[in-house]
Structures are given as structure tokens and as C-alpha cells.
């Protein structure tokens, strides 16, 4: 098992290399230029000055050279090695702040939002999915399925906007507008995350609920479950101890695949609720053409997703003793 884990972790390195290559070149295909953005912000920047700025930022070099500098295998425009191999992700083109510092500062917020959302999604979806399966074709089942379709179909930006607008009109309530970190005031911080997490969690729960229901329906028709009923075991024991663990394996897979969706979903929710997380930063960086920040966030997201998938794979082994990794 340990060898398997080490192998999976080491596989992240070549995967990251490929991801970085794709991201680095792809974002430079986006029309628009960071220096043009700066020039339009000032309104009158001579071409000579634009060239100076481009040189200062290292954007005058060919893109493969820029990539080499970013990796840390070629000296940068100031003559130093300051790339990925030296532990850096470059500097923001706008603020000159190290990208690593920027990303690490925002990561906890996005992680908190993603974690709460996922937790809420699971807490909603699994019980409802189980109930829907064991009470198939009842009013409760129809309601649950309708809810899941609604959750799957509804766009997150729409629900988020409704949650902002209507309470302010009806009850004079709106979410907090100043972000308070967990370390500064845990209670206020948690209060700030409840509503956005609920919005994202409810939307995510739809798919998980349907998968849970489907798998439960399949499992409860198995012979060993019938045997359990025949033996007179209580419903709670049959469902929770015998059926659910087997039904959960594909459900966990779905949750794992949803992780990129969670990270993507936080972009919209962070924007609507004014939470300054990675998603919020990514939109700003794309608008500003801040290439190192875009690359940095993408790399971080890729690493998190790969590690999360590893955790999910290892969870299978916990749930199913037949699964052992070598």
C-alpha cells in the first residue's frame, strides 16, 4: 500500500509538468496583452515606455524562454534563477508580489468554502438518496427526485443571486460584506460561510443524491440483502451496515469527480458573496492578463485535485476489504 501511495505521489510530478506546459502556453493564446491593459489604464503611455515595461516584466523574450525562466532552468531578466525548481511560481505582473504568497493567502478561504459545500452536499444527498431508494415510488421518492433534478439544473450564479436579492427585499437581510478570517473571529467567519456553502452544497447534492439512490436500489436487490431481511434483521442494520458501504463506492467516485466542479463553482459564489478566495482572484487575473497568477492558481488546483483523487482511491480500500493496492 505504501509503495502504491509513493508511486501515485511521484506520478504527480510528470503530470504537473504537462499541466504547466499546457497552461503556460494556452493562457498566452488569449487575445490581449498585460502591457496594453496597463497602458489603457494610464491612457497615455508612449510606445517606448510600453517596451520598457515589457522588458522589465520579461515579456519581450520568446515564449519558450519565458517558460524556461518560469520553470527555473533559464536565468530571468534580472539574471537570477527564480522559477519553479527554485520553489517559486513567479511574480505577479501587476503587484510584483510572489504568486506563491498570493495563492497561499487565498487558498484557505476557497478550501473552507469547498469543504463546507461538499460536507453540506453529502449530508443532504446521502440520507435523501437512501430514503428515496428504500421508499421507491412513494411521494417522498418523487419529491426527492424532483429536488435532485432542480439542484442539477439550476445554475449556481442564478441561485446565488436570488439568495442575495430577495432576502434584502423581503427581510432587510444581506450577507456580510467584509471578510473576517477564521483566525480573527471564528464565529463570524463561520456565519459568513453558511449561506454561500448552502447554495453550493445544495446544487452539488443533486447528482450525489441520484447516484446514491441508483446504487442503493441496485444493492438492496442483491441476494445477501434479501438474506438479511429473511433473518429478521432490523431495517436500519440491513441498510446502514450491509447495503450502504457497498453503495457508497461509486458515490465516492462521483464525489471525487465533482471536485473540479466544486473549485469551479467557488469562482462564481466567491464573486457573488464577495469572498476573496482563489476563484475571485482567478477572474481578476484573467481580466488583468496576469499570467503568472493564472498559471499559479491552475497548478495549485491541479495538485489539489490529484491529491484528492488519491485520497478517494485510498478510501475505497477502507470501504471494501477486497480492494488492496500494490
Amino acid at each position: 500500500m505504501l509503495a502504491y501511495i509513493i508511486r501515485r505521489v511521484l506520478l504527480i510530478i510528470p503530470t504537473m509538468f504537462v499541466v504547466s506546459l499546457i497552461v503556460f502556453f494556452a493562457i498566452r493564446l488569449i487575445p490581449g496583452d498585460v502591457v496594453s491593459q496597463m497602458a489603457s489604464g494610464i491612457g497615455n503611455m508612449p510606445k517606448m515606455t510600453q517596451e520598457k515595461v515589457r522588458k522589465r516584466l520579461g515579456l519581450d523574450a520568446p515564449i519558450p524562454v519565458q517558460y524556461g525562466r518560469w520553470l527555473g532552468v533559464i536565468r530571468d531578466q534580472h539574471g537570477s534563477f527564480t522559477g519553479l525548481f527554485q520553489g517559486g511560481l513567479g511574480l505577479s505582473l501587476w503587484t510584483s508580489v510572489p504568486v506563491t504568497r498570493i495563492v497561499l493567502k487565498r487558498l484557505p478561504l476557497t478550501f473552507e468554502l469547498a469543504l463546507f459545500s461538499l460536507t453540506i452536499a453529502i449530508l443532504i444527498a446521502i440520507p435523501i438518496g437512501i430514503y428515496s431508494a428504500i421508499r421507491q415510488n412513494t411521494m417522498g421518492d418523487y419529491t426527492a427526485r424532483s429536488f435532485s433534478m432542480f439542484a442539477i439544473a439550476m445554475p449556481d450564479f442564478w441561485l446565488g443571486t436570488l439568495v442575495i436579492v430577495f432576502p434584502s427585499l423581503w427581510w432587510g437581510w444581506s450577507p456580510p460584506i467584509q471578510y473576517i478570517s477564521f483566525t480573527k473571529d471564528p464565529l463570524q467567519n463561520l456565519g459568513q460561510f453558511i449561506v454561500p456553502s448552502l447554495v453550493l452544497g445544495v446544487l452539488m447534492s443533486g447528482l450525489v443524491m441520484r447516484m446514491t439512490r441508483t446504487m442503493m436500489l441496485e444493492i438492496i436487490r442483491q441476494d445477501y440483502i434479501r438474506t438479511g431481511w429473511s433473518k429478521g434483521l432490523k431495517e436500519k442494520v440491513v441498510i446502514l451496515r450491509h447495503a450502504l458501504p457497498n453503495a457508497l463506492i461509486p458515490v465516492i467516485t462521483v464525489i471525487g469527480y465533482m471536485l473540479p466542479w466544486v473549485i469551479g463553482g467557488t469562482i462564481i459564489i466567491e464573486r457573488i458573496f464577495g469572498l476573496p478566495g482563489l476563484g475571485h482572484l482567478l477572474i481578476q487575473a484573467i481580466n488583468d492578463r496576469d499570467y503568472p497568477v493564472i498559471s499559479g492558481i491552475t497548478i495549485f488546483a491541479a495538485i489539489i485535485i490529484m491529491l484528492a483523487n488519491l485520497v478517494i482511491d485510498l478510501t475505497y480500500a477502507l470501504l471494501d476489504p477486497r480492494i488492496r493496492y500494490k
Binding site: 487575445p31 496594453s36 489603457s40 515606455t49 503587484t95 443571486t161 436579492v165 457573488i272 482572484l281
Partner: protein, 584 residues
Amino acid sequence: MFTQKSTKLSTIMLALILGASVFMAGQAWAVCGFSSEAAKKAGPQYGGSITFLDGFGAAFPPTAWHQGEGSSWTASIYHDPMYETLLANDTVLKGPCGTGESEFYHSNSGPLEVMTGKLAERWELPDPQTLVWYLRRGILWAGKPGVMKSRELVAEDIVKSYELGWKRYPGVSTTKEVVSMTAKDRYTVVLKTKQLKEFEFAFGTQGWLGNVIVPAEVGDEAMKDWKTHVGLGTGPFFLEDFVEGSYVSYVRNPNYWNSYVYNDKKYEIPFIDRLVKTLIKDKSSQVAALRTGKIDVYDVLEKKFVDSVKRSAPEIKMRERVAERAWRMGFRLDVKPFDDLRVRRAMSMAIDREAFIKTIQGGKGEILNAEIHSGHTETFYTPLEKMPKEIQENFSYNPELARKLLAEAGYPNGFETTIQANAREPERDVVSFLAAMWKDIGIDVKIDLREASVLNGILVKNEHAPLTFLANSVMLAGATLQTYTMDESNTYQVNVVDDLEINEASENWVSEPDPVKANKILKDWNVLWHKKVYNAYLPTPYVSVAYWPWVENYAGEVNESSSMSVGGIFARAWVNSDLKAKIQ
């Protein structure tokens, strides 16, 4: 039966009851009937905080705290409450809270007659190329461990601050006329230029291009870190905290040099303990926060939200103003047929501006608001009804005359062309409207919408379409004139034209030392500009400053120095906490 004793008792009881009633009535009046006007008459209150949202803050987050880096002018938005300027708009005496001779809505500052000295007590123009500022004495920099000890602001601080800007952006129009800036003595700054012009006064008011006045001890690198600026400054507030993407907060400077006179009594300012600039970007969230009182002042409430805000929060006050924008449809004069004045006039006349105001702008718009903002006095601005007849014709809706002009120009059946615009609202609605109007006179317009960053890149490289729609800021009158000269540094010149008359007007203005004559040049230039129809101008929408009535001694002003700088304005506003508790 009443005895003498019982009569005395009754009298005492009656007196007690009456006394209690008076007392309770007094309490009721204090809690329920205490109006804002009454409170205002009672005088300023210390304490509380104001949270505000301005259009610039939401659109331009602090990407750089160093005035000389990146979008330097955006840094000035955030420096404003803590770092002051030499001069400022006199919002106290000349604004809506004072004589009302200026509304201080329009971008940037001036004219000079409505300005007052801040860090500079007075100034002189000994010759046409020299400006001398005399600093106010006794203004203190706060001390900060590891950075500096508390000391007086001196001329050397001004000189060093401006040098930071020059090093970063040499050769731009605001700096290339400057020869030198020196500290003549401890409190005197001498600016020498090739030709003195409006920008030298702008240097006194705006944080442009490295012109934030920082203490000489703060190094170039340190300025990039926002934490360096915490607790520093001469302004009414100190920077407290900056949460990227969420808010910037400031706290009261207890040793602020300025004071405020109210009802003949002098008060130390600021009155409030804390000032928060929120950085929410989502419009729905902004308006929801305003409705629920989480935002106290919102300075760019669009027309479409006004009615719903009034319905849901009728206590909110609103002050309407013309947006500081020019909605212009620019023609490329290096592309046929737009080099022909008749074609340009025809396209302008084909636009039904009244219908445009009704459909796109919610029923209210200012038809002529560029290139000089209509909020200016007639020092610069000429109202449409006083413009020459041919200009009034250009702004009228006359499709028959438009077709006639097109036929005279050799296009009786119209032609095809392309218009580019930003892909966001309302630009995409505007170009659809324009395309429909022009279709009526035979001009087929293909609409090419681009994301803002992409459009900026296209404009900077002069690769834009024959028609471009922009909704840019209306700037200082002189700056606008400079923008339209064919200076290769100008990124806003979409017309690609090198007009000798315009260049000559610019040169005359730059070299004119008499401000009265210089203003006349700008006024005449504006008329000349509209005769040439290099742009077809659309009405500018109205926006509102919305604020809760518990923010007192505030009348919806948005601009003390430039770029929506509000530090000085909120320094003399206060929060009526009783009224706030009552309403909330």
C-alpha cells in the same frame, strides 16, 4: 368626602403624575421623535464608522500600492484618505454643503477658483513657467517603528514623492513639460516647467504618476507592500487593513492637522472612528448591501436600481448627477468613407437620442456631456442650445437630411461597415440600437463585441474597426484636449487623425500663461471639436449617489481631489447613531 389632608395628597399625586408624564414624553421624544434635522442642529457626533462603495473602487482594486507601479492612478484612490495633496476641491465652502457653486461631481479637480490649499497653504506664479507652493507648517507625519519617527512634513517630501513618478513614466504628457522640482527651503517647493498648464495644478491635487506625497524615509521597494502604509500619512485617516477582494479600512488619525467649524464652533476631525471602502464587484450584492444598510454611501447607483431601492428603503437619500462618462462612437478617419464630414454628420443625425434615452437609459440622459463635462460652468462648457446651428443639427434626429448628406457624399444606397465595442452591458445594447438606427438610412453595420482586455489591446495597437464605441471617463478639460492630439502616446485616440487645427489649439493652450485666456481656448476647442464630428456622441446616463440619512453633514459629494477621492469629505461627516438605530 375630601378633607384638607386628602386634597393635599391629591395635589401631590397630580404633581407626580404630571411630572412623570413630562419625563416620559421627553424620553419618547428623544427616542422616537428625534429627527435628523434636530440632531444636526444639535451638532456633530464622534464615533461610528462609514462604509462606502464607489465606482472606481469596485472597478479597480488596488493592484499596486506603489504609486509608481502598474496602474498608478488607481493606487491614488486608496491612498487618498491617508496621503493628502497640496491642493483640493473646496467641498466644505464651495460644494453642496457650502455655497453650492460647484457640485464636485466631474472627474478630477478644478477649476482653480473652487479649490483650496491643503498641504500647501498658498501658491504663487512668479512667471509663466514657475509655480511655487508654500507648505502649511506643523503638519506631522505619524511615527512608525522601523520606518520613521514622527516629524513635520517638509518640502523635501514633496520633491522626493514626485521624483518617484518621473522615474517610472518619463515622457508622458503630464511629466514631459516639467523641468525640475526643488525644495527652495524647508517649506517652499518650486516647480519649473517648459510651459505651465493645468497639470501643474493637477500635480497639486492628484495622485498621478508617482505624485503621492509619502515621507522621504519610505523606500521604493517598501512602498509596494500595503503594510508599509499602515499608520502612515498626513491625512485624516490611517490605513488599518486591506483584505484583497473584500475591503480596505481606515482608522481615525488622532493627530490630524485640520479642523472643522460648525455653527461657529471648531471641532477636531475626523468625527468617525473608521472608514471602510468595500470592494464588492457583483452589482446585485452591492445593491442588496445598500438596501440593508451594510453600505452607508453608494456613489454610482444606476438608474435601473433607483426605483427598487426607493421602494424597499424609502429613507435612503439620493443625489442625482450626470455620470462622468462620455459615450462616444468614434470614426476612423483613415478609413473611407469616414474621412468625409458629410458621412459622419449623416450618421450622427440618424441617431434618435430621445428614443435612446428612453430605451437604454431609463428615461433620463444628458445629450451633450463631452468632451467637456456638463457639470462644468460655462468657463469651459457650452450647452447645446448655445452651440452653432450646424452642431445642433448634428445632435438632432433627422434621417431625411442624413440620407441627403450620404447621397451627396456618393453613398445614396448606404454602405457596409463594422463597429467594435466592449462585450459587456450596456455597450452591447448600445451598438445594437445604433445598428438599427443606421440600417434605416441604408448603412449595414456588423457588430464585433470584444472582451475589455482584448479591446484595450486592439486600441493600443491601432488595429480597431472603422467604428468604435467607448464609454470612457470625461477628464480634465485640458487633458481631454491633449488626448485628441496625434501624440503617439495617446491610447484613447480612436480617430487616427492628425488634425492641424486641434494640434494648434493644444499648443496654444499649453503656451498660454493667462488662465482666463487658456480657459477660452478650451471652450473654443470644444466647439471646434464638435464641428468636426470625429465622434458621434450619445447621451450620458444619470447615476445617483445613494446614502442613508444617518450619515450627516454629507450631501452626496464624491470628489475632493480626483478619481473619487473622499478622505476629506468623510473627515467632516458624522454618523447619527440614534437615527441609525431607529431606522435599522
